[in-house]
């Protein structure tokens, strides 16, 4: 049985899809903007904090890693407003959820990167009189970040795909708009094909870009000095 493809309806509603795409990028981008630095802070607290800091931070990280993102989203959208008595709109709830959720994952990426650096690097920094903060900033993190790039990319891609959950609290992201179009035109096949294609193109292009960046960094000499 042949299916009569008709992409025209999708292109007629392309504006709506683009609106959804922008919202997807907004949530992803903002969550990355907050999630990465927050992840670094959590990683440092977990690594170097005293136990009254280290333990709760560890629990927070594990909590976000071990619970379904959709449960977290519902919690911040439906439950938190009851607790604090303030309405949170779907956009803010989404950014809040995914910033925190991704920060937990980024914290583990940062931690892994930092502990992977040879302790001789810490000693060399210490031996020329650097304190811990300076050693981290000048010596350890620049090397760790370089090693973390692939894991970062992995998390960022995962994040962008997970943001499709925001449709469940009626935030009009790309997938949500695709669904709207599909329901009004009865052209699910075409609409979801195009939507998936857009996700694919963005993620694929980013991957290539990051791989290119990695290659360029590798060229500037650095491997490990032993």
């Amino acid at each position: 049985m042949g299916y009569d493809w008709d992409f025209w309806v999708v292109f007629r509603e392309f504006g709506l899809l683009m609106h959804g795409l922008i919202n997807t990028l907004k949530v992803t981008g903002l969550s990355l903007t907050f999630g990465v630095p927050l992840g670094l802070c959590l990683a440092l607290l977990r690594l170097y904090g005293n136990w009254p800091i280290r333990v709760p931070v560890g629990i927070i990280i594990e909590f976000f890693r071990a619970t379904p993102p959709i449960a977290q989203l519902f919690w911040f959208f439906f439950a938190l407003p009851i607790l604090i008595g303030v309405e949170i709109d779907p956009f803010k709830a989404s950014v809040l959820t995914f910033s925190l959720q991704s920060s937990a994952f980024f914290a583990e990426v940062f931690r892994g990167g930092i502990v992977s650096i040879d302790k001789g690097q810490w000693e060399a920094a210490k031996a020329i009189g650097m304190n811990r903060n300076k050693s981290l900033k000048r010596i350890i993190l620049p090397q760790a970040v370089k090693r973390m790039i692939p894991a970062f990319l992995e998390r960022a891609i995962e994040l962008m795909k997970t943001t499709t959950l925001v449709g469940t609290i009626s935030y009009a992201d790309l997938l949500y708009e695709a669904n709207t179009i599909a329901q009004s035109t009865y052209r699910s096949l075409e609409v979801f094909t195009v939507a998936a294609g857009i996700y694919f193109v963005i993620i694929f292009v980013c991957s290539i870009g990051v791989r290119q960046l990695e290659r360029r960094m590798a060229r500037t000499g650095e491997t490990t000095a032993h």
Binding site: K126, A127, I128, I139, P142, G221, E222, H226
Partner: protein, 261 residues
């Protein structure tokens, strides 16, 4: 003579293992001291206690007349800032070089003067050029450590320590990780520093080098100084059985003298 460094009754205990059992050494200005001993005798630990890479369990470190730490009720308390300041005056060269791989050779050497000593740009540049030239690697300024041989990396590490213009240099088995053919260039560099009057404490397994470079040799055994004296006294005419056995072990691969007909 002025005493640059005074190590007084240093003990170091790891868990229930006492690695250093009371070490006393006075280091005079421009003196080169070589520390010998079997592995596990505590020689690296002693070196690492001097710049507080390891904090001594008890005892005193006095650098240029100033005692490090504050003594209250028999216990010495060290503050991080004081230790960091001390480390800027004590250079250390490691067995595994530990250059910063993400920085060029020049940046490695400038890092301490720039971020710790807060020297201005001209001064950082001057020091980088001066000390890289001293170790013969001015022409490798823009290379990354991974592009250098082990011997070159270790010479950069020496330049990095010298750039702090320290009062004293510590060498912790600086040639042990090198291929045999690269050992010479590093020892040569260290020898030049000795000739220029740098105060140095050197842990090494190169007995021939120890003999040539040292003003004084300390032989450590089980956390104590078993014997010390001039290179000839310790290496050629040792008095203690421990020293004799150690030297015997090192001599077992000496090539036979050629027979003359």
């Amino acid at each position: 003579m002025t005493t640059v460094l005074s190590i007084q009754n240093i003990h170091k205990i790891f868990g229930d293992l006492e690695v250093l059992k009371g070490i006393d050494v006075n280091v005079e200005k421009s003196e080169t001291i070589v520390i010998l001993g079997a592995s596990g005798s505590g020689k690296s630990t002693l070196l690492r206690c001097i710049n507080f890479m390891e904090v001594p369990t008890s005892g005193r470190i006095v650098l240029s007349g100033k005692t490090i730490g504050k003594e209250t009720a028999g216990k010495v308390i060290y503050n991080e800032a004081e230790l960091n300041a001390l480390r800027t005056r004590v250079g250390m060269v490691f067995q595994h070089f530990n250059l910063f791989p993400h920085m060029t050779v020049r940046e490695n050497v400038m890092e301490g003067p720039r971020t710790v000593l807060k020297c201005d740009k001209d001064e950082c540049g001057r020091r980088a050029s001066k000390y890289l030239d001293k170790v013969g690697l001015g022409w490798k300024s823009e290379a990354y450590p991974s592009q250098l041989s082990g011997g070159q990396q270790q010479r950069v590490a020496i330049a990095r320590a010298l750039a702090m213009e320290p009062d004293i240099m510590l060498f912790d088995e600086a040639t042990s990780a090198l291929d045999p053919e690269l050992v010479g260039e590093v020892l040569e560099t260290i020898k030049e520093l000795a000739d220029e009057g740098m105060t140095m404490l050197i842990v090494t397994h190169e007995l021939g080098f120890a003999y040539t470079v040292a003003d004084r040799v300390l032989f450590l055994s089980e956390g104590r100084i078993l014997e010390q004296g001039t290179p000839a006294e310790v290496l050629v005419y040792p008095k203690q059985d421990g020293t004799k056995n150690f030297l015997k072990g090192h001599g077992s691969f000496r090539l036979p003298e050629p027979k003359l007909d």
